[in-house]
Symmetry: D3
Subunit: 263 residues, 6 copies
């Protein structure tokens, strides 16, 4: 089976540089994939992407060595299994707030007896190889989003769910549920403390932690405090920033000031 190089990087203690695809287009996805990210996540939650677009996007990503991951809209077994069958090498699931939710999520990613994933890996077999079934449970990643006050309070019960492979922090939702304003590059102490606490819990339980970052500066800082999977914004944010900067440079004669280190 094709190696999941996200695991390989983690096994060496490294940090994965992850890109994010929210534009529902296989052309935009291949465009992104040319930049040699370690992994690219097709976002079916806040991205404007549904399953059929995601299939074509993962095909486009598969023209390169970048590993395709997917974020699902919600903890729903149907879409989790469909994306795995379509060749996602990992699923990021939003709003895992309890041990039961985490078990339900991990189970959807694993064939029995480890879980209850149904068998039928059509494109997964094309991408992963004919021995997909034999190695899938050990290859595809189940990554739970820790992004609420409740989840932070229950870190130890969530992180001990067998088979959980990674954590992922959504700073905006974390901020909101902690009573702060959402921000892609958080500065509230409450939020930063929670972010640190999550990384520590990950270390404690041997579960690599990831986080969405609003700038490369933040991403470097997150790696410094123990994160091993950093996402840099998203395709639509790149496009918006570049377009606005170009227009601003033409209208005002100088580039738009970059917002707090973001792209």
């Amino acid at each position: 089976m094709r190696e999941n190089t996200v695991r390989t990087i983690w096994n060496k203690g490294g940090a994965v540089i992850n890109g994010w695809c929210g534009i529902p287009s296989s052309v935009a996805a291949e465009n992104m994939a040319q930049a040699q990210w370690d992994s690219l996540t097709v976002d079916l939650q806040h991205g404007l992407v549904d399953y059929q677009a995601a299939v074509a996007m993962m095909q486009a990503i598969s023209t390169t060595p970048t590993i395709p991951l997917a974020r699902v809209p919600w903890l729903e077994p149907g879409i989790i299994m469909k994306l795995l069958d379509a060749g996602a090498y990992g699923i990021i699931c939003p709003m895992i707030n309890s041990r039961a939710e985490c078990e339900s999520f991990v189970g959807a990613c694993r064939y029995a007896p480890a879980g209850y994933r149904s068998f039928g890996p059509v494109r997964a077999g094309w991408y992963g190889g004919p021995d997909y079934y034999a190695h899938a449970n050990d290859t595809v990643l189940a990554i739970a989003m820790i992004e609420t006050r409740q989840a932070v309070e229950r870190l130890d019960e969530i992180l001990t769910v067998p088979g959980l492979d990674g954590l992922y922090v959504g700073p905006n939702d974390l901020a909101i549920t902690l009573g702060c304003a959402p921000s892609g590059t958080p500065t509230d102490k409450t939020v930063l403390d929670a972010i640190r606490r999550i990384a520590e819990a990950g270390k404690r339980h041997g579960i690599p932690a990831g986080i969405h970052c609003g700038s490369t500066q933040m991403a470097h800082e997150m790696i410094a405090i123990g994160y091993q999977f950093v996402t840099l914004l998203a395709d639509n944010a790149f496009l918006a920033a570049a377009a606005k900067s170009a227009v601003s440079e033409m209208r005002t004669g100088k580039a738009a000031p970059k917002a707090s280190g973001s792209y």
Copy 2:
């Protein structure tokens, strides 16, 4: 009929800031349209876009005041008229190399007796208004690409075709046909001379000239020598540059050097 503000800017002697859409997605197009370009061109030639995608992209652009234009793949009446019916407020046509080609092109954009455009402006009427037919010939733009050695040699015969509204320079094809290497920010004297000559011919005949630019710096220079319509790269180039820069900043600790002023 809705005003074509590209004409308005030209009538005031100003320069139009034009964006370029080659990703076949209405989401990417609306993303671009948020940046307040004067106009956005949906590129059906080198962009990865066909007619059906272009319709949805022009709908997305029409959620903003930005004027939707389209570049056709080739001088073929079918697609020119289809894009006008779909609401394009101007057509950029590649490789106009003779007076006959220019007449054929302009005729496809005009109702009789000025041309031979067929009547049926379904979405054009939604976008332009119920009086579309009465004003279309004076509103939609016919913009011929001058991008070969042959076209430069025939500027005066091409520019005197009645009804031609604008010129547009593709620096890459111009360079190639002049025996130089293609470049989005040309530096060959031969190419720069031709670019200057085209602007001068435009001025002489009262036809505003436009050009594709590889950087804002080049765009400012082009405006300085008389161009009144400057395109800044393209959505896919923005996305590629931002993604590569992000990965580079993460891997090397510093941003990728920007190539000669381009985005």
Copy 3:
């Protein structure tokens, strides 16, 4: 943030004229949007529409001042949040039959602490404006369908759920669960009584009530008994009626008799 004019009309005590889109096409949606409805609902339940089509349809509607709403297939948080992120200014959710279901529904439409909506309003921000987050909870509408005998019996417990913005009656399902035949223009006393009772409960709790109508005559009657949001059939019903009438006029020499005031 862009004003939700459905709320504005309600605040003035008026009735919203709502259209209904079940054809999965951004062209059909823009066609409908040209008719100056107060709002248009993209129907992902009984319409033949899924998420990706709905995004393009809402883009098309956003070329006009008509407010885009969406009906979801079922009470499932994933699709509710995806449609809000895509710019729906309100969600109509079918089959809300208990207080718990209503709480779950309203919560999916609200950021914490009012609910559990996840943050990432990409297109919602383009449509609503950069201050979307600050005002979203007070702007987007959570409209629960009251369309079963059970729901009618529990009106008071359902209508007191904090944050519920509106009710919506599906006369067909209401009729079926009350033991009557489904009808778009109900005449059974049982059904009409329930329809009246729902409007009264809405008034009692200050929650505007809406209803699907099979004719303009019915819509006027519903407004007369207190409904403040009336839907006139659907795009596919308009198309079917017009086509059948045209064929009938050609074959029989006279127009098809209109079925009980419907279009």
Copy 4:
């Protein structure tokens, strides 16, 4: 091979009731097809439809006995042959203004030696039957649009092209090229005279003539003067009229007056 019932009706001297599909959706097409038209034309010229949408629309039409036809964007052999391969049982080609154009058009619809159509009727074979090749030349219809002053002047040279099966009048373009305002229900004597002349020429040469009609009244009148193929508006016009009428009835309390007998 499946019978082309358009020919059957013509052979009996009858008139074909034709519908028109410009909304790029297989759902809208099936919706239309439920009305039992004799034939439905997928419009790739002024409809917002391209090839891939047209394939799905013709599949949808093929769920009923209605015969699928297609109008191409322009006299271009590629798209004519692609639509025939996709199962169109006739092609309507715009702007046939000379004998040479008519020969080129008819040739694209016929296998050698009658023409130069390339062999590969994949879906055509599914729709027409395994003996498609043997009967295609005698079954599929080549219908030339006569819609300019020039074409009217050359009727006899155009109508004697061997293999031409039908004529089709676009009243709007005819009016424009005759110096009148475009109208779906023409009243200018110049236009009406030309319309009459075309029908007479058709009769003279044994070629059935068809025409686009803005109302059933006009369609009945056209049949009365010899037309044997009448189109009633289009799906998007039906939808627009019904939606506007519904909104008007709600806002003003009475239906919108119908424009000169149109739907």
Copy 5:
């Protein structure tokens, strides 16, 4: 209402020959439908198909007498009802492991009082006929997948759910949950015993049983032991086998050996 010939075959004691569509294309679906299957199942679980593709696929199937069925991704009411509205004449639901799940599934397929299906059969009415509502509960099929150890242990409680129309065995998942390797043509005694036991339970309760088969040989054997609905592989498996065999014959000079009687 159009007859559901799957029921007709069952009523005569016969076995249904079912095909399987996992390629998200209406062209592939019509291609399959030309082979005169009794029924074709659009697979939204392991097929690479979502709702919008499924609609077009069912339209394509509806050009023939073959009955369209659909397998849903999971027991989720939204997608079950959407597919029924789109004209599926039966739903196959994966992983029904308890009486409660079976009741929830059957209820989603039935209008009240038999179930809780919501009313709005737009395309279902086009396909089934104007009297769809009156006969739908007795026509559309609710087929539960029995494919886990747990389900086999609970056969009698599951099969006595009122309104259940059929069973369907997924041999791969059945094998996995029984501790065996997945196989499309199972040979493990444990799996074969369970397969036999399921057919016997079906007979006992008067519920026809179906099964996915990896070869025609297996299908004949399954019919021999009482199965009345056999699926032969899937479109993508047919395509893969034919393509591999062709390449092998060209490279090695002889056909690839067929794996255990499969295609």
Copy 6:
């Protein structure tokens, strides 16, 4: 630039095993690409495929080492250049019947001064590499279809067009224009003679010849007489044959006899 292994095989005197994609689906294309063809041709002529589908199909093919080619609908520069920009490593152009047509075709595939291809290889650069422009003229293949009596008579004038890389025979059209019935596995002496004559002309001028084959047996025979590029049927033919055979085996108890060695 990525190597065009079709050229490599030809340079070694070998024969290319080519597959054919006419189903408009990136999933079907990736399914085909798993079979390790030397090349796969996306067919935009008789396949039910247009440009936008072709882009996704070529992306899918690019997940494997198989070389993506495309057949265009007709000799039209717009679509030829669009497909090259989208990453096709060769274009097969139908109905090249004269030297002028061949020059026009080859020119559309080459940058100046060798031709008149316009510059903008967006996806071509992703697939081919950043040095695409420098090597494109020597890498991408211009393959002219020789498939009419006229073309056979003009072989020497056509084959001496500078830059022509290959020939391709369509046996069906060749047969028709020679007065024979179309056949995928021709047996008419007239057709076989022409097929032999084309291969000989190719040898004489150093231009590899290819041909569409209805069976592996025919393909082996064609290689034996000098063809260096053989296509085995098409995806839709594979699917049809497998489906029909499966149904036949179930209904009659034995496999369908294979038609004259075809799949």
